[in-house]
Amino acid sequence: MRSHLALCAALVIVFGALTSSAYAQDPNAARSLAATCFTCHGTDGISVGGVPPSLAGQDKKYLLQQMKDFKAGKRPATIMHQQAKGYSDEQLEQIAGYFAAVKPAATAPASRGGY
């Protein structure tokens, strides 16, 4: 039993390392993960009209905690609790880091009229 647990732990470490190195190959991995949020929350997390809310420039710890709370069912939601469960905690951290680093004014297009 003890060796079995040790093997599991070793596998987790190896798998974790593989996952990390796979991400490390692509400098834009966090952006690609965050891009799955853009459809509803706006390009780079800048929401048109604020529903659902903008994520751009928000505090990383706050964003990560909200997503983890959705994932754990601690924060009530209509849809986010179902979506947050699709991502690992490591992926949620990458997503939070991406949005926290966005400077809203820098990426906003020239005009959003009509939307």
């Binding site: 834009n28 952006r31 799955t36 949020c37 459809t39 390009t43 209509t78 849809i79």
Partner: protein, 422 residues
């Protein structure tokens, strides 16, 4: 060199314009050439994101329509709570991004010379081609369909546009006490919940304006393919006695003169016939040699969206052979496009392609003018099976229809429109 002189001038003037707007002095378009066929949810998003993430790549979109007309939300036109202009948007946002728009139709692709030939005669060269043609219909699946459609009496209205408006007019002209028939093909088809939302919208209109009228949904599928319990609750609760649902009802023939549809079992007369034939990938996909499955769909590598049949050509959206539990939806096309854009940039620049692909689908349906339900799913690349699989434990549907989700549905629409076009 395969770019025509005229197009080269277009590119130069477009990029000069972009530089003037942004104040950027770098030469745009020198790293490579990307052509996108189709400016719907897939193609427009891909064009925007290639340009946004790699301003040094020249991006040209070939689109035959003058404007973008959204299928999502357009069922509300049939219900009467909005008009087609409310789901119609221009392409100026893409132009401001520095994307060149060519209003024309792609008629053939030479994958060896890497050229796209347009109906207007121009030939465009590419390093990478992105094909996002949406769907075309398999007219032969229903006897007399094309004749009935050209008479204007039988419509599909499954591509938002003139037929959506024409169908609304037919519903307005129908007498109280008439029957509206919607006939849907077997899955896979564009927008799994679309037919069930559509009958809600028509019933919503009948309930207020023509209360003696009926809605008959002939579904070739054995049961409601999406949000089943929620739609059935709406049919019973909001539209009891108006909507009749018949599963396993495959329409094989239409007769516009007698306004009759024929299934394998019976003949049914209606006052408004809305018959949707089975779909396949848009015609250019076939002409470009991209069809790999069932003579209908385009198989792709889910890490790059590159065709399994042709190198340097990528396919997006409804035209793809959908992976397990992956709907043909606007959200999906928009998400395919970002994976594709990142991969196309990496491949042009000789950088590594992201070995992990994630896609998220969110799809809202209006069961009345304000009450809305959703379905959502998250999909991750499985390296051993080389396909996208739904993430277990994630995704789901609404608890119940609500106006709160109506607010979110409009928020979704405004954001995906901007994310695709601006």
């Amino acid at each position: 060199m395969t770019i025509s002189r005229r197009d080269f001038i277009k590119w130069v003037s477009a990029t000069a314009g972009a530089a003037a707007v942004s104040g950027c002095a770098t030469t745009s378009g020198s790293a490579g050439r990307v052509i996108v066929i189709g400016a719907g949810y897939g193609g427009a998003t891909a064009a925007k994101y290639v340009k946004m993430w790699a301003p040094d790549i020249a991006v040209t979109v070939v689109e035959r329509g003058a404007e973008f007309i959204s299928c999502p939300i357009s069922n509300l036109v049939l219900g009467g709570s909005i008009q087609l202009k409310d789901v119609t948007h221009g392409y100026d946002g893409l132009k401001k991004r520095g994307v060149t728009l060519v209003r024309d139709e792609a008629v053939s692709v030479d994958p060896v010379k890497r050229e796209v030939r347009l109906a207007g005669g121009n030939v465009l060269g590419y390093d990478r081609l992105i094909v996002s043609p949406g769907i075309d219909f398999m007219y032969d699946a229903i006897r007399n369909y094309q004749q009935a459609e050209s008479s204007g009496r039988v419509l599909h209205a499954w591509k938002a546009g003139p037929q959506t408006v024409a169908l609304r007019k037919q519903l307005e002209a129908m007498r109280d006490g008439g029957v509206y028939i919607l006939a849907m093909p077997l899955a896979p088809y564009r927008c799994p919940p679309g037919p069930y939302e559509r009958v809600c919208q028509v019933a919503h209109y009948f309930k207020t304006a023509k209360p003696r009228s009926k809605v008959l949904l002939l579904d070739a599928n054995p049961d409601v393919t999406s949000k089943g319990a929620l739609f059935k609750a709406a049919w019973k609760g909001l539209y009891g006695g108006i909507i009749e649902y018949r599963p396993n009802s495959n329409v094989v023939e239409v007769d516009a003169s007698s306004m009759t549809v024929k299934t394998d079992f019976e003949n049914l007369k209606g006052n408004v016939l809305n018959v949707v034939p089975p779909h396949k990938a848009g015609l250019i996909a076939e002409r470009a040699g991209l069809i790999t499955a069932n003579n209908r769909w385009c198989g792709i590598d889910w890490l790059t969206a590159e065709s399994l049949a042709q190198k340097n050509i990528h396919v997006l959206g409804d035209a793809t052979l959908s992976a397990q539990a992956m709907p043909k939806s606007a959200s999906m096309a928009n998400q395919h496009a970002k994976v594709c854009a990142a991969a196309v940039i990496a491949l042009i620049k000789g950088q590594p392609v992201n070995p992990i692909s994630m896609l998220m689908n969110a799809c809202y349906s209006f069961v009345s003018d304000k009450q809305v339900i959703h379905v959502t799913s998250v999909h991750a690349y499985d390296a051993s099976q080389k396909t996208m699989l739904p993430v277990k434990g994630a995704g789901g549907v609404s608890d119940k229809a609500s106006e709160l989700e109506g607010t979110y549905a409009w928020g979704w629409a405004r954001n995906i429109w901007a994310d695709t076009l601006v």
